[in-house]
Amino acid sequence: MSFDALSVKAQFPIFHRYPDLVYLDSAATSQKPASVIKVLSDFYSFENANIHRGVYDLSAKATDKYEEVREKLAAAFNANANDFAYCSGTTEGINLVVNGYLLPHLEKGDEVLITAMEHHANLIPWQQACEKKGAKLSIIPVKPSGEIDMEAFENKLSKKTKMLAMVHISNTLGTINPVKILTQKAHDLGVPVLLDAAQSAGHLPLDLQDLQVDFAVFSAHKLFGPTGIGALYCSENFKDQLKASKFGGGSIKEVSFEKTSWMAFPHGLEAGTPHIAGVVGMGAALDFIATLDLEESFAHEHALVTQLRQELDALGGIKIFGNPSEYAGIVSFEVDGVHPHDVASFLSEADIAVRAGHHCTQPLLERMQVPATTRASFSIYNTEKDVERLVATLKDLKEFWE
């Protein structure tokens, strides 16, 4: 059975409202299927109550719904329900690990290892922690192909390394990193690993047990769910060492004016009234993903981006950044002599949504010696026609700027 993108696309109301829209910015945020929107609306309409507090029926039901989503996360990413704490997204998840695990363990002279292709969210928190403690942020270089330099990685990894943090799929280059290999090498030296799965969760089968990473983070809004919610995965070994760094109600066992004791992971990390509707909406997004065959949908996105990479090459006057052997549905390029913002505006006039800028990976672009690129990114609702429209409009653009 091949993947039926058109029937998938029909489930997304935005394309009914804008039938001519070619949406190629799913790496920034995905569109939302009707099922997710309905669950959000139903929750606020008919099920709304705060959780973990009320003894009345609505509150008990809201609590159950909220807790159930951990089971859905567990099923989607092959882990246990109590391995997932809710957080506002990838950015917050990384900050929780930096503040709650790394900082208490980091000392002067230690190192944190990241790749040169990290999103600012997986760079700045580590950088700030290192600065605070007099530790060193060490960077694994990226080759012109857009792949991690494995030899440099092995040289930089050492007993001084206190964390390896890496992106699964580069949001700028589309590279899929060999996470399992890097994780094994890190574990050989007792180094914990954090995976930024913002671009992989929901796009390909993500098996956390198999990858063996210690921490993983992602945002629901990139996998067909609402904004402002996501999850932090923590493996069994690190739960006791990951301390709360955000304090308030709902996360404590016992409080006196002198001291407080916290609940165990994950609840100890979820202080304050959480984004309850967001969690429920994330659950609906996971249900939606469960209706897909991720091998098939990934193959669909991969085929589209492969077609685009080939056609951009054939057009001439276009530079593609990186040609990794393993890539997902993301490609960054530059049109000779035309600023990426002008490319994006020109495409916008033809109803094609792409992103122009540094994609929150400024140091990576600096190394590639460009201030900005144009990026097209795919999801399950894109079709070959989208690629054809993009390529045809880029042809027009080149003629226009001749």
Partner: protein, 139 residues
């Protein structure tokens, strides 16, 4: 949809007015947008509160470049007071706050910004820098 890239903009982007690095000029302003990396230097030669000769140089998108070029061409020879009003009119016009009134027809090249607001910052970049300079020069 009205295009952002009309003939006048294309013309100015290809052949910008007084596009030259004038490092010998003492008074210069730097207009930069840290978000996209666009950066221009404005070189001002002045006589008794008149912008007698203007040049600009730098890099950025077609819209920021054409807009800077039109600004330099429009403001050259104007007194600080006049220039201030013209800058204000331009910035108000691109935000659609002048009922269509423009100091010069050339501004209408940016009419598409009234409905496509995403690129206003590119177009306003050098004008805002010039206006804030002129405001510090007020008597």
């Amino acid at each position: 949809m009205k295009s952002l890239y009309g003939d006048l903009i294309k013309q100015h982007q290809k052949n910008p007015y007084h596009f030259l690095k004038k490092e010998d000029v003492e008074l210069s302003l730097r207009a930069n947008n840290p978000i996209c990396g666009d950066r221009y230097d404005l070189y001002i030669e002045n006589e008794e509160n008149v912008l007698s000769t203007l040049h600009f140089h730098g890099f950025g998108c077609a819209l920021s470049k054409a807009s800077a070029s039109i600004m330099v061409e429009t403001l050259e020879g104007k007194s600080y007071e006049e220039a201030k009003e013209i800058c204000q009119n331009f910035l108000d016009y691109i935000h659609d706050k002048t009922n269509g009134e423009v100091y010069t027809e050339a501004f209408k090249a940016f009419e598409a910004l009234h409905t496509q607001t995403a690129r206003i910052d590119c177009v306003a970049l050098t004008w805002k820098e010039m206006l804030s300079f002129l405001q510090t020069q007020s008597s």
